[in-house]
């Protein structure tokens, strides 16, 4: 399919052109035009023998034209025109690092990565994020300007290793955008979770010995595997314990489990690997009752040491309550003294499990008021109604 071919070619083309001419901003515009030209010409005229070379040629020509037009005004000397740029092995990684540059906000990184590396159009990104196309366009041009201001250049940075966590975080942000923005209404919406998985697969090819990249990919696969069972037809949220496990994507689970098993044996452990390991334990349990909670508890303790946060503590307490009983969980919840809106939801769940339905009901009601998620609110309200 021409569309898929264009999207997979886009980062290689952009990287080659940006590296050759040193101007990421202009290169990005030129590549967009080359992609547009291809999407108009190829379906009728046929795909060229070497699509990437074709796109690079057209984009380079366009960039030179743009620069010349500008130079005609400014009367400056011409850019080098030959030889034609080519694709190089580290190009795509350089491009990804540039899009996830620390000078950019998370929102800007997401938009720029989706366009420059993911090859999505501004309109597709806008539909995926449920914001106006113009806003996405501005976000991208602002991001490019900020890169210029920060003196970011199209070269592999010396501090490559210290920049990779930022890249992994941006890819995870794209994956999660898929679940926050999902309205299920737009038919031709790009699935951001699928896009994040595709981009992380690319990163894994570029950094095969990075255990956290493997962990991130595994986490995405093991989480996405449950998607068919996560919501009912009416959009209502189905808690993990009640999900129909026969709907889970077994191919994703198998791939995720094999990835994380291998990564844990070979590399230093990191937060994404631990989260993937937790997801794997859930995914491999034949039923909710058969879940290996002691192992999940141990993994959450490890995660809390590696990457502490209120959600990690809450999940650790849920696991603790499964192992040592709801009263132990409630005590731990009080001791943790967390200020997080999901504390009420966890306390409600534990109160109900320890046989205090009236108090549980009040906590569910509180939790429903405090949540920022519509499906979650609906779920919590049904719990209130159930305990009435």
């Amino acid at each position: 399919m021409v569309e898929d071919l264009l999207r997979t070619s886009a980062p290689q083309v952009l990287a080659a052109v940006a590296r050759r001419y040193g101007d990421f901003d202009a290169a990005e515009d030129a590549v967009q035009e080359a992609l547009l030209a291809a999407s108009q010409q190829w379906p009728a005229g046929g795909v060229p023998d070497n699509p990437v070379a074709w796109l690079i040629r057209v984009a380079s020509r366009r960039l030179i034209e743009m620069v010349r037009n500008e130079q005609a005004r400014r009367r400056r000397e011409a850019l080098p025109q030959d030889p034609v740029p080519c694709v190089r092995g580290d190009d795509e990684l350089t491009l990804l690092l540039l899009c996830c540059h620390p000078a950019l906000t998370g929102n800007a990184q997401v938009a720029l990565t989706l366009r420059a590396v993911g090859g999505l159009t501004t309109a597709e990104i806008a539909r995926a994020l449920l914001i106006p196309e113009k806003t996405v366009g501005q976000r991208i041009s602002r991001a490019k300007q900020r890169l210029r201001d920060a003196g970011a250049r199209f070269v592999l940075p010396d501090d490559l290793e210290s920049r990779l966590p930022g890249v992994r975080q941006t890819l995870y942000l794209i994956f999660n955008e898929g679940s926050t923005a999902s309205s299920g209404s737009a038919l031709h919406r790009v699935e951001l979770s699928a896009e994040a998985i595709r981009l992380t697969r690319q990163l894994r090819q570029l950094r095969p010995a990075d255990g956290e990249v493997a962990g991130l990919l595994a986490l995405m696969l093991l989480t996405d595997a449950r998607r068919p069972a996560r919501t009912r037809a009416d959009g209502a949220l189905v808690p993990l314990a009640e999900q129909d496990r026969s709907l889970w994507d077994q191919a994703f689970i198998a791939e995720g489990v094999s990835l994380i098993t291998d990564a844990l044996q070979r590399y230093a452990v990191g937060p994404f690997q631990v989260q993937a390991a937790i997801a794997a334990v859930h995914d491999e349990a034949p039923s909710a009752a058969a879940t290996d909670w002691p192992q999940i508890l141990a993994l959450y303790r490890l995660l809390e040491a590696l990457a502490p946060g209120p959600m990690v503590t809450l999940n650790r307490i849920v696991a603790l309550a499964e192992v040592d009983g709801p009263p132990a969980g409630l005590r731990a919840l009080d001791d943790a003294g967390l200020d997080h809106y999901r504390v009420a939801a966890v306390r409600a769940h534990l109160l109900e499990r320890s046989g205090a339905p009236a108090e549980a009901r009040e906590e569910y009601r509180r939790a429903a008021r405090l949540t920022l998620s519509l499906p979650e609110r609906r779920y919590l309200e049904t719990q209130v109604a159930r305990l009435a």
């Binding site: 906000t105 998370g106 929102n107 800007a108 938009a111 994020l129 914001i131 106006p132 113009k134 806003t135 996405v136 366009g137 501005q138 976000r139 991208i140 602002r142 999660n176 679940s179 926050t180 923005a181 999902s182 309205s183 449950r226 996560r230 919501t231 959009g235 949220l237 808690p239 993990l240 314990a241 999901r342 939801a345 769940h349 949540t371 920022l372 998620s373 519509l374 499906p375 979650e376 609110r377 779920y379």
Partner: protein
């Protein structure tokens, strides 16, 4: 995350408006327009509108499958929504930062409300 910045009209804001000079009123309107432009430039604006007077509102209800529209009880209402900015920012902090630049915040206050999203925690 999307956030809605709500601007209310109430006796305090009306009193502030009455006390403004012509130049101040011009600046007030101009600052609103500039803020919207700035939000658009920065890639955070989803939509922003000022609302017409509540005396022009219609109140709509459906009973027995039939829609009924009527003029509202606007005379008794002391406070009404006068305008809003819907923005998309990485966090609440940024949204609050934008809200602080709404001209009304200098005279009364504006409200920032998170928009519910479609994420879900797997309990």
């Amino acid at each position: 995350m999307k956030y809605l910045i709500l601007i209310q009209s109430n006796p305090r804001s009306l009193a502030a408006w009455d006390a403004m000079s012509d130049d101040e009123r011009m600046a007030f309107g101009r600052d609103h327009r500039r803020l919207a432009e700035r939000m658009a430039d920065e890639g955070v604006l989803v939509v922003s509108e000022g609302l017409a007077d509540p005396s022009l509102a219609k109140w709509v209800s459906v009973r027995d499958g039939g829609a009924i529209s009527s003029d509202g009880p606007y005379a008794e209402v002391k406070e009404h929504l006068a305008g809003f900015y819907l923005i998309d920012t990485p966090s609440l902090d940024e949204a609050v930062g934008w809200a602080a630049r709404v001209p009304d915040a200098k005279y009364t206050e504006v409200e920032v409300r998170p928009v519910l999203d479609m994420s879900g925690w797997e309990f």
